[in-house]
C-alpha cells in the first residue's frame, strides 16, 4: 500500500493556486483600478483562506494515512 499520491494531490492544488496568484500579480501591473481591487477582494481573497484550510486538512489526512501504513503493514 502506497500513500505517495496523496501528497501529490495537495502539491498540485497548491501549485495551481500559486500560478494563479502569480498570474494575477502580473495582471495587476496592467490592470489596477477600483474594479480590479474589487475583483481581487471578491474572488481571489475569498478563495485563498478556504483553499489554505483545505490544504491543511489534505496534508493532515495524508500524514495520518502514511503513519497508519507504517504502523499497520505486515
Amino acid at each position: 500500500m502506497r500513500t505517495g499520491d496523496l501528497t501529490a494531490g495537495a502539491a498540485k492544488l497548491q501549485e495551481s493556486w500559486k500560478k494563479l496568484r502569480a498570474h494575477w500579480d502580473a495582471t495587476t501591473v496592467e490592470w489596477h483600478d477600483a474594479v480590479s481591487q474589487d475583483f481581487e477582494a471578491r474572488y481571489l481573497d475569498a478563495i485563498e483562506p478556504q483553499l489554505a484550510a483545505t490544504l491543511d486538512r489534505m496534508r493532515a489526512l495524508a500524514q495520518v494515512l502514511t503513519s497508519a501504513q507504517h504502523e499497520c503493514e505486515q
Binding site: M1, W17, H23, W24, E30, D56, M58, E71, C72
Partner: protein, 216 residues
Amino acid sequence: MNEGAHVGSIAAVREFRAALCTFAHDARDALVAFDTESRRSLEWLFEAVPKHWRKELRRAEEAVTQARIDLERARNSRLPGGEPRSCLAERKALERARGRRQYVEEKIQKARHWAAVASRESKEYRGRAHQLEALFDEHVPRALAQLDRVLATLESYVAAGNYGPNRFALVTRPPDAESQAMASAPTDAADERDQRERECSETNDAADAVERGSKA
C-alpha cells in the same frame, strides 16, 4: 467602466481569464485525485488491514495451541535412558508463538487506533473540500462573468476609438501593440487557451444563470 478605470493591456485581462479557467480545471483535478487516493487508502485501512490481522491472529492462536501440545507431549516423553527431557526447544517454540500472537494483537490495536484517527481526519477534510468546491462553483463562474463584462467594455472602447488618458481614464496600448502581443503568443499556448475557453463556455452560461438568479 468608470472614470477610474486603468487598464494597460486588454490581453493581460484576457490571459488572466484563461489562467482562471486553467486553475479551476487543475484544482478540481487535484481534489478528485486526492479524493480517489484517500478513499483507496481508507478502504485499505478500514477493510484490508483488519481482515489481514484477524487472519493472522487466528494463525497465531493456532500456533500457540500447537506449541502447547508439543510441549506437553515432550514433557510426557522420556529420553532412551529413561531420563525426563529438558523440553528446551518446545519451550522456545511456545515462547516464539506467544510473542507472535502478542505482536499481532498489538497490530490489531494499532489498526483500530489509526482507523479511528483517519476516519476523523477524513471527515474534517471532506467538510473543507466540500466548502471549497461550493466556493469554486459559486465564485469561478461569477469571476469569469465579471472578466467577460470588463473585456467586453474594454473592447467596445477600443473599437469606438474612445480610449486614452485625454478622453477616458481608461488607458490602453495602441491596437497594433495588442495585435502584436496576441500574434506573438506561442501556438501551443494559444491552442491550450482555446481549449480552456471552450471548457469555460458552459461555466459562463452557469454564471449568467447565477447572475439572473441573484438579480431576481
